[in-house]
Amino acid sequence: MVIKTEGLSFTFGKQQVVKSLALQVPEGSIYGFLGPNGAGKTTTIKLLLNLLKPDAGNIHIFEQDIKTNRISILSQIGSLIEQPALYQHLTGRENLLNRALLLQVPAQRVEDMLDLVQLTAAANKKAGQYSLGMKQRLGIALALLADPKLLILDEPTNGLDPNGIIEIRELLKKLVAQHGKTVFISSHLLAEIERMATHVGIINNGAMLFQGSVADLQAISKPLVRVDAENTVDAANLLTRNHINVTEVTDEHLLVPYISKQQMGEINALLNKNGQTVYSISKQQKDLEKLFLDITKTPKP
């Protein structure tokens, strides 16, 4: 495990923002750390980077305790937390050169990074004049500068246009596939994580609700029968009267938990027999977006 935490807890004032978190991030994975805004994602990341001191629990990164091996661990991590921290009065290149000085990285590496994030043409422009997307890319270049084994990125695609998002996604995939890096990436958008992550952790109100591979996540999503009908409300009432559980009704469709093919046929027959016009009836997998919402909507204990 590249990151392993046990019982990690943190409290801001009276509010417990991280509750006994047990993260398990395997080597060579893209670990999507998912949760709605305010779930405790950024706080967890700051704990991992030793910017905040946990109230309880352990953090092991590269099998070393962060408390006793802070410097050696941090030297192998590249991070981007919230908005990229840039010196606005320095140019893009100077921002990188300053960090290169601190990390004792050769200046050539700065040029390589500018090239990688496609900022070479804008390298001599002040960072304060960069667009949001350029700032984000410069932030990623800063994170990658020391060629770290582990990348910790907090909502790195925030404020990027679709092209920018795709570029970052491809870059991260490449880093993992070709350079053996591990990426820990937080987001509140499942769709974004779904496209690249190999592992997922879902957090809400500071507590871990799900952790596992993307395949595990898909496995717990239960299939549904989707019925498109002329009058979905009447159709739903009819099904309910016949002891069939309807989980969702909209103007367009209604959803019923899938049990078997026979059950689908029975539903169809029942509706037709009672004069309901059915446009289509199909089995569908609950999509991850919905699953994510269901998991994170679980009421507080």
Partner: protein
Amino acid sequence: MKGFILSFRSEFYKSRKTLGFWASVMLPLFIGVLLFVGFYTKSEKLVSMPPMMLWLQFAGAILGIMGSLVLPMYIIFIAYSVNSIEHRADTWKTLFNLPIPRWSVYAAKFFYAVFLVFLCLALFVLFTIGFGNLLSIVKPELRFDDFHMEKELAQIYFKLFLSSLGILSIQFLLSLFWADFLKPMGIGFVCTIAGVVAASKGWEYSYLFPYAHPMAAITTMLKNNHGDPSNRLQIDVFTKDVFVSMAIALVVFIAGYFIVQRKSVK
């Protein structure tokens, strides 16, 4: 130690294009030029003065405002500017997750502020001597070249430097905590006024109050010479207010280190 040197170099790299750095160069240059022009245009009134009095007039014009106003305000500004670079860019979090010990990052920043104050005061000495000698070249009737007080000037400014360390350490800590300029500036300003009043009214405990130290440094700089004209310019660098200033700087610096160690970066 390596982390400290790297951080110190980075402080210079970051600030070399900011007003904070250039103020340390421009302030002595500006005041030097102003005095030069003043003495040049009013030279006929000064011709009759003996060389030593000329120098005392020339250097004294700066020193008079230095202790009471220029130095404390400059220190408040410098302490703010080295910290505000990080506040504005929101870079405290990146500084503290560098693979460099926290104390190096903190100490490098503090000593960079000390360095800027030292640089500024050293340039005051340099420009005072430089412009004085320049005056004797462009206005030979002003006999600046007939008297030398380089050593005394250096001693006075060194005393000022030491006496400013107490204020610097306090302002540094205030600016580290508060991102906005008004809080450290407001506190610094009120304390400076209190310090000037305390020192100029000769309050017996004013030597314990750091904001009174630059003013006290000026008033206590001359050794008691009991009318012996041969020793008129003996500078007493290590007076008790200077020791108090250095002690406060040391204590606040160490306290700040522990505060930074425990500081959570929000």
